[in-house]
Symmetry: C2
Subunit: 457 residues, 2 copies
């Protein structure tokens, strides 16, 4: 019988040399970006005003299945990768389940999440292009930290528009970004036109990722040596995150682990899209019937209750239109929502795969998420990020089903990161003060009303 | 030429099966504990009123070089061990030094430090003895978290007396302990006699480890199924921490790494004593002339400015007398001191080895510590605990000397943990508000005045 260690560590030589471009494998490609005025597909030149050129090329690449990871990025990866695939022996024991549970743990770096996989790549390409400054937004703060770490390493300036409510709830997350030399501006702010407009219309708002994106893009467009970078949703971000899935698949193959299901949390879709990439590839090729399940918060249910439509990526309605599952760019989740995954839309790649029937999606209320997080932390010794705990909930749910049916299924899930900067939310849960918010159909209709009329399916 | 990866991961099979008992190797043993009244050496029976029996036996064991790690403890270790030995390629590049720098990283678990190595063992033995409840103290919160994690895993109740100033500065650390089911009482408190006495004499005090120890011991003595556990200083804690050094030595041997110096931070001495154990063994046997260097805070300089004398372990003067380097149990470091390592004394084993000339010790002010921490975090992608950053300072200092002399020395240091719950201190440093405190000779004399008269050397 094969013996599986608690932690499967791949060697440095096994660190992938290429990312996997899922779009090159998909027979039915996602729809192209559209210019919001002309409704015509956007090309490299138009997108390059906002994004680094090489990232735009990756964004539009639908033909190359493998894209080389630059040596400098691989060297950065070596500081914290390959990340461990962990056999959750202790969780299995706690649950008394016949299921085999594994998780790919992306939280062993200071950013506390998988976001570093893409920030390293994006900052590297920005430096190569001769840029000196980047802007971005951050919600929970994981992306901002990851980007600050990469900017400190490669030597670029960084301004982070941080969702105001997160900046207030997470002063320590802000302090980490500042320790890495990043400049933080709570959003919405009076430093941009769009920020001032949003503040005028919603004086008391705690902000949203959509608002912060609008502000960061506005600033990037003002300077030639500055670009905007985004930590999720876009195809090139999923490309970089495929390193998660490639390592997971390699570790599974080495130890003859055959997943019956792969489970991830979904907000913008970057972790999920990266984790599932090689598993989806096999499924697209008819070589596997693995179930692939995304878990999202009930308070921001873009996949389970959203529409598959062209929409803006930001609240200010300044980005290109993307075909995706969306609640409408005007949708802002309840400020009671503490569990992350607040974006109104979903990665176009993930959306397309879902619409074509390759994926499943479920939603869960946040008290259930924190219940799963607490059980997991006490069993496995890792206090998870609320975002990651959505996937834990999904895995536990399936493991309990196995106990009921007696089936010995193999469950692999993505543990995207740690919750050390999310303790305000844990305190709320520990003190019994956390409430669950599920938007009504009327709430959702208000969000859908913000969808661009011409493009609704 | 040998190729050394960024991270050296030992396999699960290479996890040590025995701890290394340094006292069995030392020809000149540390002096025994003395009863503070009779001044007679204490035996198993007397110590067992406070501590678990098996831990007392380990504490007094001077003959068995190897002590088996119980299977249940090894299984717990497998969740986060073996920990990586990291080649600091990026730091070397930043410093432009010919030195080879390695660090043993103990921060990959949620407690954020090496403390888990001993808490797992101590809780296991408590459970084996049929105890249901433990008390302890915590300062920075790492030990409290580590103990809460082990208690959650093995199913024991836990009450933590947390140094009041730490509980206020670190609400999130408190929240983590509570998530793991631990009960927190800020110390000094009105729940104990000694706490009430200290509050009466020093109404505004932020507390100290010494105070918190007194309170935790008082509570433990009140109940038959409860014992007190301690996260540092004592010989059995150093024994458990030897797993750090054993793994480090094994990794070095596997890759033919020959350290010229081994550097650690020193507060109570548990991490340091554990890290250096196998290296000291070689030195004691005349097989090596490796330099072994402890770095302590200038604001609490027990090794560099303390006295080698019998002293109490706590402010309330209730513990047995230990022969150690000490500033006197009445010494309380300035409340401006943010860098951890606040204990007035030092492990008897480390003290003895230092007095016998096997170790070096240096002190450093905290702004220099945070400067080193920031440089390290930007280079190596890990934001260190302030405690750990003392060792970083020492390693950087030696690496810079190598640059000046052109010598290619090999430096191994212990990175005991991460600083994710210490961001208040980082904020103070980032904002330029951190000050340095070095006690005057008069300040130290006040502490020495609290030494028990009969036992001063």
């Amino acid at each position: 019988m094969r013996k599986i260690p608690y932690k499967i560590h791949l060697t440095e030589d096994e660190l992938p040399k290429h990312w996997l471009n899922l779009k090159a494998v998909m027979k039915d490609k996602p729809e192209p970006f559209l210019h919001p005025g002309s409704l015509k597909p956007l090309g490299v030149d138009e997108l390059s005003a906002v994004f680094c050129k090489e990232l735009v090329e990756q964004e539009l690449n639908t033909s190359d299945k493998y894209i080389e990871i630059p040596e400098e990025v691989r060297n950065f990866y070596k500081m914290y990768r390959p990340s461990p695939l962990v056999r959750a022996y202790c969780l299995e024991k706690t649950l008394d389940t016949p299921a085999e549970i594994y998780y790919k743990f992306e939280g062993t770096n200071t950013s506390g999440s998988h976001k570093l996989n893409s920030s390293a790549a994006q900052v590297y390409y920005a430096k190569k292009q001769g840029l000196t400054k980047l802007t971005t937004e951050t919600g929970a703060g994981q992306w901002g930290t990851a980007l600050a770490m990469a900017c400190a390493y490669f030597g670029l300036d960084l301004t982070v528009y941080m969702v105001k409510i997160s900046a207030e709830q997470k002063p320590y997350r802000k302090a980490v970004i500042e320790t890495y030399g990043g400049k933080i501006i709570p959003s919405p702010s009076d430093t941009t036109k769009v920020g001032r407009k949003i503040l005028l219309e919603n004086p008391g708002t705690g902000g949203s990722l959509g608002c912060a994106i609008s502000e960061a893009i506005e600033v990037a467009l003002e300077s030639d040596n500055c670009r905007y970078v985004l930590g999720s949703v876009l195809d090139h971000v999923l490309l970089h995150q495929s390193v998660i899935g490639l390592e997971t698949k390699l570790a599974c193959d080495k130890y003859d682990i055959k997943p019956d299901m792969v489970i991830g949390c979904i907000g913008g879709g970057s972790n999920f899209g990266g984790l599932i990439a090689p598993f989806v590839e096999e499924k697209l090729n008819g070589k596997s019937d693995v179930r692939i399940i995304g878990i999202e918060p009930a308070s921001c249910p873009s996949m389970t209750r959203g529409r598959f439509a062209y929409d803006f990526g930001d609240t200010g309605q300044t980005t290109p239109l993307m075909k995706m599952y969306t609640l409408g760019s005007g949708f802002i989740p309840s400020s009671d929502h503490a569990g992350g995954l607040r974006f109104h839309g979903m990665s176009p790649i993930v959306s397309k795969l879902y619409d074509d029937g390759y994926l499943e999606a479920r939603s869960v209320v946040q008290t259930k998420v924190f219940e799963a997080a607490t059980l997991f932390s006490r069993s496995e010794g890792i206090l998870p990020a609320p975002e990651s705990a959505h996937a834990i909930y999904g895995a536990i749910d399936e493991a309990i089903k196995c106990k009921e049916t007696g089936e010995k299924k193999t469950i692999v899930f993505g543990l995207t990161g740690t919750g050390y900067f999310d303790m305000t939310a844990y305190m709320s849960y520990n003190n019994g003060e956390m409430t669950d918010y599920i938007p009504t159909d009327e709430d959702l209709e208000k969000g859908f009303a913000s969808l661009p009329k011409v493009a609704v399916k």
